[in-house]
């Protein structure tokens, strides 16, 4: 056993295998890190602007939560496969010019925007109830996905050129569950929370006209097909 480990014949290959994959993992982490920074700034900005827009439009106090599933670069994945990451941002904006005759208090709105779908949860959270003890809360949001990825490589050769064609199909369905709970009399104690409702939002992946991967509940479950051809003329 010791001899086999100390055998120098396979040492170079072993070192290459270990350090090569280690370097790929490090580079992949660097790319994921900067992509996450970029996406987080984008989502934070978007959350504020959308909350401001809602508050401006409805003269209300708006709490907007934005959850987006973004596909990150994955150097060890398949052809245009990537991997799904959840980026979230939230913003609360009070931008109201309430009517004075008769005087009306500004509305409280709770908006959940998950990818391309927007849900107004004001009624479900009973935020329009004047008694704040009746208000419900969102305890958690969970995302679960089902991804199917396929990839084929074809090589066509004739007397003029060689064509290498790679085709991939990506189908991804994400289910985001919003759990609404009744916090009970002691809102700080999460132990006595009672789950009132769980709202599942099922969304399918599609590729928008600007090339971005997006998720929407109005889109059918169809794979996104990507293809590339490399030509090598003789």
């Amino acid at each position: 056993m010791v001899k086999a480990i100390l055998n120098k014949t396979g040492q170079a290959a072993t070192e290459m295998a270990i350090f090569g994959s280690l370097i790929l993992v490090i580079f992949s982490s660097l790319l994921s890190f900067i992509q996450r920074q970029n996406e987080e700034q984008y989502v934070t900005m978007e959350a504020f602007r959308r909350a401001l827009n809602k508050a401006n439009d409805q003269s209300a106090s708006v709490s907007l939560n934005l959850i987006q599933h973004r596909r990150f670069a994955d150097v060890s994945g398949g052809f245009f496969q990537g991997n799904r990451n959840v980026i979230g941002g939230s913003s609360s904006v009070f931008w109201a010019v309430p009517p004075v005759d008769p005087p009306t208090p500004p509305k409280n709105l709770a908006i959940f925007r998950i990818n391309e779908d927007e849900h107004d949860l004001t009624q479900r959270l009973r935020l329009d109830d004047e008694n704040e003890d009746n208000n419900l809360e969102i305890r958690d949001t969970n995302s679960q996905g089902n991804m199917v990825f396929s990839e084929t490589t074809n090589k066509l050769e004739d007397n003029r050129e060689i064509q290498n064609i790679r085709v991939s199909g990506l189908s991804d369905t994400v289910t985001t569950s919003i759990e609404i709970v009744d916090p009970g009399p002691d809102k700080d104690n999460e132990g006595d929370d009672v789950v009132v409702e769980t709202i599942p939002i099922v969304q399918n992946i599609y590729r928008d006209t600007d090339g971005q991967y997006k998720y929407s509940s109005t889109r059918p479950d169809q794979p996104v097909t990507r293809q590339k051809t490399w030509r090598t003329p003789f």
């Binding site: 170079a12 660097l30 900067i34 992509q35 920074q37 970029n38 602007r49 401001l52 827009n53």
Partner: protein, 128 residues
Amino acid sequence: MITQTSCHSRESGNPETGMLVDKNFWILRSSRRMTTKKHKAQVFIETTLFFVATILLLLMVIRVWVWSNNQIAARQPAYNHSRVEAGTVAPPDRAAPLIWVVENEARGDRRVYTPERLTRDWVFRGQQ
């Protein structure tokens, strides 16, 4: 090479001890030296190629990193310049428009950020 070495051993013996040594020993020792030299050269070439490939890969990652940082920096001024418009109260009879900074076609407008495409030329050729 081996023949020359064996002749050398017969004539002058072992240069380190000054003693005549067995011919086969010299042949074997010389063969080992050659093999070691070949291995050293191979390791040197492999290490050089490995380092070059690693540095190239690192440069590419840095280029992607710079591109992504540029997006963050370029988005912020557009966001700042569109702030007043986004916060202006809409007329009561009209819906407030969503003022967002990202548009693909409106280049030149300071309130609009147009994402730059991450191209091969940017990553591999250092295009600005």
